[in-house]
């Protein structure tokens, strides 16, 4: 319960290095998750049962298995099946897969919220289903679900802390390491929490800005 400025300052460079790792993982996984979510969302409403049920299965598994278990399974479980993956590969796989699953559901809801007349008008002009989806439906759907996607991204940034369990020196692990050297827990933890706040606050603001914007329109 003692905040010591000197320890806090000494810990800072190490914490910032860790923060860079966390932010990098989050950014890559948000982008990959978005791509997965678009593809997954379109598959979820596809008339093709393989695509539809495949996407549903993927989403269900990712929603039901704790992220920590997915990470550990990929990192500690797969090697016994002869598959060895780098910690960063595992982190990005697991984080994008779980984010992609949630974004899939969000995009699906977004597509279904678009008036059916839009698809009818596009198809009547001679567009193919995929053209209509890409050029008419998705641009409207994505715009509409930007607030929940931002919200999911915020969750993802916080969830990156779990990768500290697979030897990655992210923000949390850097904090833990400093604690061991300095034999002080309060100051590094305060620093870790503060940096997580700094990383997530912009997303909180973006989320509320998007929400007001869509409420007004």
């Amino acid at each position: 319960m003692d905040f010591q400025l000197d320890i806090f300052l000494a810990a800072l460079p190490s914490l910032l290095r860790g923060a860079k790792v966390s932010a990098g993982l989050a950014l890559v996984s948000i982008l990959l998750g978005f791509v997965i979510g678009i593809i997954g969302g379109v598959c979820r409403i596809s008339r093709n049962p393989v695509l539809r049920y495949g996407a549903l299965g993927y989403v269900t598994v990712m929603r039901c298995v704790p992220l920590l278990v997915t990470l550990m399974f990929l990192y500690y479980g797969l090697p016994s099946a002869g598959i060895l993956l780098e910690p960063y590969t595992v982190a990005i796989l697991a984080l994008s897969a779980v984010n992609g699953a949630y974004v899939t559901e969000i995009i699906r809801a977004g597509i279904l919220s678009i008036d059916l007349g839009q698809m009818r008008a596009a198809r009547s002009l001679g567009m193919s289903y995929s053209q209509a989806m890409r050029r008419i439906i998705l641009p409207q759907a994505v715009r509409r679900v930007l607030p929940p996607i931002t919200n999911e991204s915020l969750t993802l940034v916080k969830n990156t802390a779990l990768v500290s369990t697979i030897t990655i020196s992210d923000l949390l692990r850097s904090g833990l390491e400093v604690m061991t050297w300095k034999a002080n827990t309060f100051s590094p933890f305060a620093g870790v929490a503060l940096i997580y706040i700094l990383m997530t606050l912009p997303l909180v603001w973006l989320n509320s800005a998007l929400e007001t914007r869509y409420r007004i329109r």
């Binding site: 009547s124 001679g126 567009m127 409207q140």
Partner: protein
């Protein structure tokens, strides 16, 4: 109007014994209708009689069960394969035929995320493959015709209902279709905005466009249409010259429908 098979290639639209049901609900019961080039056919009838479904079957947005629809002599939707069984034509061929059929809906269905100009050039560029500059030229030409010159950069949400509907007409025309279908295009408009849309349609009719117009605007049907068709219960009950039909309807159901319309005055609200 006898729909002789030999001349069907000269007809932009030929419909032969069309049947369509939604589940157990039979909506179209053997509709036959041939439309000549440059002809304007008005379709009237009570709500739920199958008018919208008929238009949706013409471009096969609603697959029909039995019968044929020929666009310029070519069958759309179902084709005969060897063995006499009919199957759905490839999406590619279907998309090609749909380019030739313009349709305007009651709810406009403009693309809200695109400007007026982008709405109109979308299909010419991405479906027909026209160079952008040429598509823009086409779009401006059509916009001038519907009286919306200068609205290129507006978004649909910034326009009145009447303006949006005229953009929808321009968007369909930019594909240079062989026939234009109108499905109660003025029913969602405030009364003071109906006239500007009808004026655009009247102009189109005078230019010789082949048109099938589902409408509750009886004055428009009487003055602009070459033929009026009265539909009820999924069938064509009566078909004929507009002046004759309105002054002297033959069937009991037509008489009852017109009488009901007159007693309601111009209040012809109808849920699509």
């Amino acid at each position: 109007m006898t729909g002789a098979l030999a001349s069907s290639a000269d007809m932009p639209v030929v419909i032969r014994r069309l049947w369509k049901s939604f589940g157990s609900n039979e909506v179209l019961k053997g509709i036959s209708l041939s439309v000549e080039r440059g002809e304007v056919v008005a379709i009237i009838g009570p709500s739920g009689s199958g008018k919208s479904t008929l238009l949706q079957c013409i471009n096969f947005m609603e697959p029909f069960d039995e019968g044929d629809v020929l666009i310029d002599g070519r069958p759309i939707g179902l084709i005969h394969s060897t063995g006499g069984i009919r199957r759905r034509m490839s999406e590619r061929d279907l998309n090609k035929l749909r380019r030739e059929i313009g349709i305007v809906f009651q709810q406009y269905n403009l693309f809200p995320h695109l400007t007026v100009l982008a709405n109109i050039i979308e299909a010419p560029v991405h479906v027909l493959g026209l160079p952008r500059a040429e598509a823009i030229e086409r779009a401006r030409f059509q916009l001038r015709k519907v009286g919306l010159h200068g609205k290129e950069d507006a978004f649909p949400g910034e326009l009145s209902g009447g303006q949006q509907q005229r953009v929808a007409i321009a968007r369909a025309l930019a594909m240079q279709p062989k026939v234009m279908l109108f499905d109660e295009v003025t029913s969602a408009l405030d009364p003071e905005l109906v006239g500007e849309v009808l004026a655009s349609m009247r102009l189109l009719a005078e230019e010789g466009m082949t048109m099938i117009v589902v409408t509750h605007e009886m004055a428009f049907a009487r003055e602009v249409a070459d033929r009026v068709i009265f539909m009820d219960g999924g069938m064509i009950v009566e078909s004929g010259d507009p002046r004759e039909f309105f002054s002297n309807p033959q069937h009991e159901r037509s008489k009852a429908f017109l009488k009901r319309l007159l007693s309601h005055g111009d209040d012809t609200q109808d849920a699509a």
